[in-house]
Amino acid sequence: MLRPKQMLKLTIFGPKSYMKQVIEELYDMNAVHIEDYTKKSDDDVFDIGNPLSDNEKHSDTLVKIRSLISNLDIERKNILPRETSFETIEENVTKLHSKVSEVMAKKEYFTRIKEIYTKKEIKKALSSLRLRFDDEFDYTSAVYFIGFVNAEIAKLKEDVEKASKKNMTFDSHYNGVKAIAVFTDHKSKDDVEKVLEDYDFSPIDNPVVKEHFRDLTSAPGQRFVKLDHEVKAVSDKLKRVNDELSELKGENMIFLLSSEKKLTMEVEKGEAPLKFATTKNTFLLRGWVPRNKSKMLKKKVEDVSNSKVKMKFEVPGKHEEVPIEFDHPKMVEPFEAFMELYTLPSYKEIDPTFFMFLTFPIFFGFMLGDVGYGLVTLGLFLFLKMKMPGMKNFLNAFIIASISTIIFGMVFGEYFGFEFFPPAYGEHLVDSLPEHLINALHMHPMESHGALVYPFPHLFSRSHQISDLLSISVLFGIVHILIGLVVGFINIFENHGIVHALEEKGGWIMIMPLIVWLLLEPLGVITGHVYDMLASILPPLPVLGIMFAVGAILTIIGEGVVGVIEVMFLALMSNILSYARLMAVGLASLSLAAVVNDLSGQMIQSMGIIGIIPAAIIMILGHGINIALGILSPFLHSLRLHYVEFFGKFYGGGGKKYKSFGYSPK
C-alpha cells in the first residue's frame, strides 16, 4: 500500500519466426511494459524492428474507419470486437467510405448553396460567371440553365456535349461552390436537364436570372428578389441528404465500432516491433513485468514458442528507472489522480497516496465544514460522476471529501451557515432535553448582540472559538509535517543509510520541538486545550535548546548553505503556520454564509411577506457562489498543503507510469 507494485526487469530474446506469436501472447496478457529500443550508434548490432507485414494495410483501413466514425457522428461505445475477417472489414469499409464521401460532398454542396441563398449573395455568385457568346450562337432563342452544380466541370461539360449538339457552357467558382450557365437549343432541353439532374443541379430562379441579364447590359437592378422557394427546395434536399447519412449511421454503427476496436488492437500489435531490437533473424525486447505475473508470462511464452524464445527476469538495480504501477485498495485509488497531477513517486520511495487519502478529506472537510454545503456538493459530484464517467477517479475523491465535510459540519454545528435554532423552538428544546445531553452537545443558550441564542448541537463552534480553531489548525500542521519528516527519514535511510538520514531529516525532526515551543510561549499562536496538551509533552527549555543546536548542526552538514538559510529563517515555522489556512478559509466561507443569511433575514423583516422573494434570490445566489468558492478554495488549499508543505519534506517524485502492452479501453 505504501509502495508501488514490485517489478522485475524482463529481457526476451528469440528467433524472428516466433516474434508474431510472442507479440500476440504479450498483448493478450497485458502485463508487460515494453521499453523502446533506441539505436545509440550505427555500430550497434541491433536495428529497430519493422512493423508486421499487414500493418500498413490495417492502418489505412483504421484511418478510414475513424473518418467514417467522425463523419457519421457516431458516439463511441464500448463494443467488443467481432469475428469478422480483415478482408471483409476492408472491403466493406472501402465501399462505405466512398459512399459516405459522396453523400458528405452533397451535404457540403447543399449547405453552401443554402448559405448563398439565405445570405442573399446570389447576385454576387452570378456575376462571377463571365458570359461571352460566340457570334454565331443565338443565345436569345436558347434555353438556359443557370445555377449551381456538385460536379467536376470537365466531366459535366463532356456529358452536356453528348446530350446537346448546340450548346455553350460557362462556369465559375463562388465560395467553394461551382456555378454554371448552360445554353442550349430547345430540342435538347430535356436531355440536358437530365444530365444536370445527375449533378444535383440547383437552379437559380428565373426572375433573378432575368434581373442579372439586365445587369450585364445596363445599370444593376435593385429589385428585391424573394428566395423563399429556392431556400425551401435546398433545405428539402439537405434534409434528404441528412436522412441518408443517419440511415448509413444506423446501419453501420456496430460494424464500424467493432471493426475499429479490432483493427486498433491489430495495429498496436503490428507496431510493437518498432520498440524491439532486431537483427536479421532474431529479436530482443526489454521491459518490465509485475513480479506476481512473471511466472505466468514465462510459461505462456515458452508454450507458444516451444521454448525457443528465451527470457530473463532480474531484480531492478538501484539507479534504474522502474515504471510505477500503484498498488492500493479501492478506497485509496481516487487519490492517485492527485499524484498524477503532481508527479508520480519514484520506485524507491514511499508512495504517499495513502497519506493523501487520510488527510486530504480531513483538510477539505475542516475548511468547508457545513452539513448543508456537504450535502449539496455530495449531490453535485454524484451527478457529475453519472454524467462524466471519464472523471470518475477525480470525482470519487471529491465524494469522499464531501462526506468528510458533512461530518465536520456536524462537529461544528453549521447548516448552510446557520448556527442557531429559532429562539422559541430553541428555548423549548433546551427545556425538554436532559441536562447531560445539553452539556455534551454544547447547546446552552448564549448571548449574542444583546439577545439569547440557542446553538445547534455541536462539539466545537468555529465562529466563537477562533483562537482554538487556529490552535487546532496549527496542530494539524505540526503533526502533518512531522509525518512528512519521518517518511523522508525512512526514504533516505533505505536508500542512503542512517548517516544521510540523520543529517538530512533527523536534524529537522530535532529542530521541530523548539519551533513548537516558540509557537506556544513567545508567540502565543497556540492556546487553550491544544496548548495544555502540547505543553505537557514538550521537554524543558534547556533540552529543547540542545536538541535545536544538534539538529541545526546536522542540517547544516547535511544540506549545506541552503540548510543554513532554511534554519535561520525558520522554514519549519512558516510551513507550520501555513496550516493556519485551515482556519482562515473555513472562517471566510462561514462568514460569507452568515452574511447571506443575515441579508435575507433583513429582507423578510423589513418587507414582510413580499420580502420572501428577494430573500430567496439572495439565499440561492449567495449560497450558490459560496458553494462554488467552497469547492474551489478548500480543494486548492488542501492540495497545496500536501504538495508544498507535506511533500516538500520527503517527496522526490519523477517516476514514469507503467503502461502495459495490451488493449486499454480509453
Partner: protein, 78 residues
C-alpha cells in the same frame, strides 16, 4: 458586552487591518506574475492547468500569515 472603543482599541484595529490588507496586496502582486506565466504555459500545453493552478495559489500563504498576525493583534483587546 461591546468593548468600549478607545483610541488604543482603534489603533489595534487599524494594525490588524493593515496586517491583512498589506499582505493581501503582497499576495496579489506575487500571484500576478505567477498567474500570467501559468496562463502562458497553459496556452502552450493545456495539461499544465493543474500545476499552474497550484503554483498560482502558493503566495496565498502570505495573506494567511497576515491573518494569523491580525488575530494575534486582536487577541490583545480580547
Amino acid at each position: 458586552m461591546a468593548t468600549e472603543i478607545t483610541v488604543g482599541v482603534g489603533l489595534i484595529a487599524i494594525g490588524a487591518s493593515l496586517a491583512v490588507g498589506l499582505t493581501a496586496v503582497g499576495t496579489g502582486m506575487a500571484e500576478q506574475a505567477i498567474g500570467a506565466a501559468a496562463v502562458g504555459a497553459m496556452a502552450e500545453k493545456e495539461e499544465l492547468f493543474g500545476k499552474g493552478l497550484i503554483m498560482t495559489v502558493i503566495p496565498e500563504s502570505l495573506v494567511i500569515f497576515g491573518l494569523v498576525v491580525a488575530i494575534l493583534i486582536l487577541n490583545l483587546v480580547g
